[in-house]
Symmetry: C2
């Protein structure tokens, strides 16, 4: 079984594989390790958890490896997603092509501001919150992206849970309380800036 920490690394290995020359027959664990910034042994341990993929001394076949990683992450299929809170961040996420490329289809968007409801943003009509439950059921939606202000986040998350959502990607800076059967990933982009200061500080040999 793959751990949550290993899953983070698998996403990075996948980016490395997609950037690898498409006619290459092999890639080694040390080439993946160098591209991602982890140890060779860590890569081998992570890939071993996916099953018998590589051959010692010869390496891995890039397409077969990418397929195995996609299956482990659950992105060998498409996922239907709703987005709630169509403000600055919500709009930027709607326009981002990177989600579609990995099989994530945002199929409906919601907001509670009367002036926004009915507006068409990136090809989707903004719907009122009371349509959430019906949309999740009829459209077979499993995931939600939450980009509302922090004061509204918990009550909107509760509505998503009632509607039958199975996972929430939360951007609001609050700790959401969800039942155990609903998965949660919270994003804090300040963590990315901290990674940058870590690198800048160490580049000067501090």
């Amino acid at each position: 079984r793959v751990s949550r920490a290993a899953a983070q690394r698998l996403s990075l290995y996948l980016r490395c594989l997609t950037a690898w020359p498409s006619d290459a027959e092999k890639i080694s664990s040390s080439q993946i390790a160098a591209a991602v910034g982890v140890s060779d042994a860590q890569v081998r341990r992570d890939l071993a958890a996916l099953g018998h993929l590589g051959q010692r001394g010869i390496g891995y076949e890039p397409r077969e490896l990418a397929t195995a990683i996609r299956e482990a992450l659950g992105i060998h299929r498409t996922w239907r997603v709703v987005l709630v809170g169509v403000g600055n961040l919500g709009r930027a996420l709607l326009r981002y092509q990177g989600f579609r490329a990995q099989g994530f289809q945002i199929v409906a968007v919601f907001d509670n501001q009367p002036t926004k409801i009915g507006e068409c943003i990136e090809g989707l009509r903004v719907r009122p919150l009371h349509e959430l439950e019906a949309t999740v059921t009829t459209e077979g939606v499993e995931l939600a992206i939450l980009t509302v202000p922090k004061e509204a986040a918990q009550s909107v998350a509760d509505a998503l849970v009632r509607a039958g959502i199975r996972g929430i990607l939360n951007f609001a800076p609050v700790v959401l309380r969800l039942p155990q059967h609903v998965q949660l990933v919270t994003v804090d982009l300040a963590i990315q800036l901290e990674q940058l200061t870590f690198l800048v500080q160490h580049a000067n040999g501090v």
Copy 2:
């Protein structure tokens, strides 16, 4: 020395410590491990790299540990930051209070759209790109957040490097080519959605 992978984990330990009750005298490595979702041994290894902090069997003093982590990540001081590309994503990042809380001050913003230049957004006047070099030098800016379209990203990054920037947080979906002395962290929020599908898929025992 702390590795780049360990630095990611340190950011998560720091969030756990800031959420810990302020009157608590101790926290154990297993309490941190449970909150973050890594093994107890991993937490002990990471914290040992920071120096002699905890006592076996007694645990760590939360404030002392948070201070050591802040120093390792370089956020025991403030950093002056510029943001280039004041579109949907740029505006959402400007409004986000999470950066300021960790000592990141966005001191100037830039865009190349004539209708945006001179506008005041979140208290900052939008400046034209030709003012970049002068601003970075006179304001002592070290970091930049890049939220321009992918076609413009490399040329804007080159201008930032010429201006003397030491680190770039890049959101454009391109691989930036930078000289070795300039650090780079690229964000791809699709990775966060993949972490969510990994959890949802495993919650069903797939």
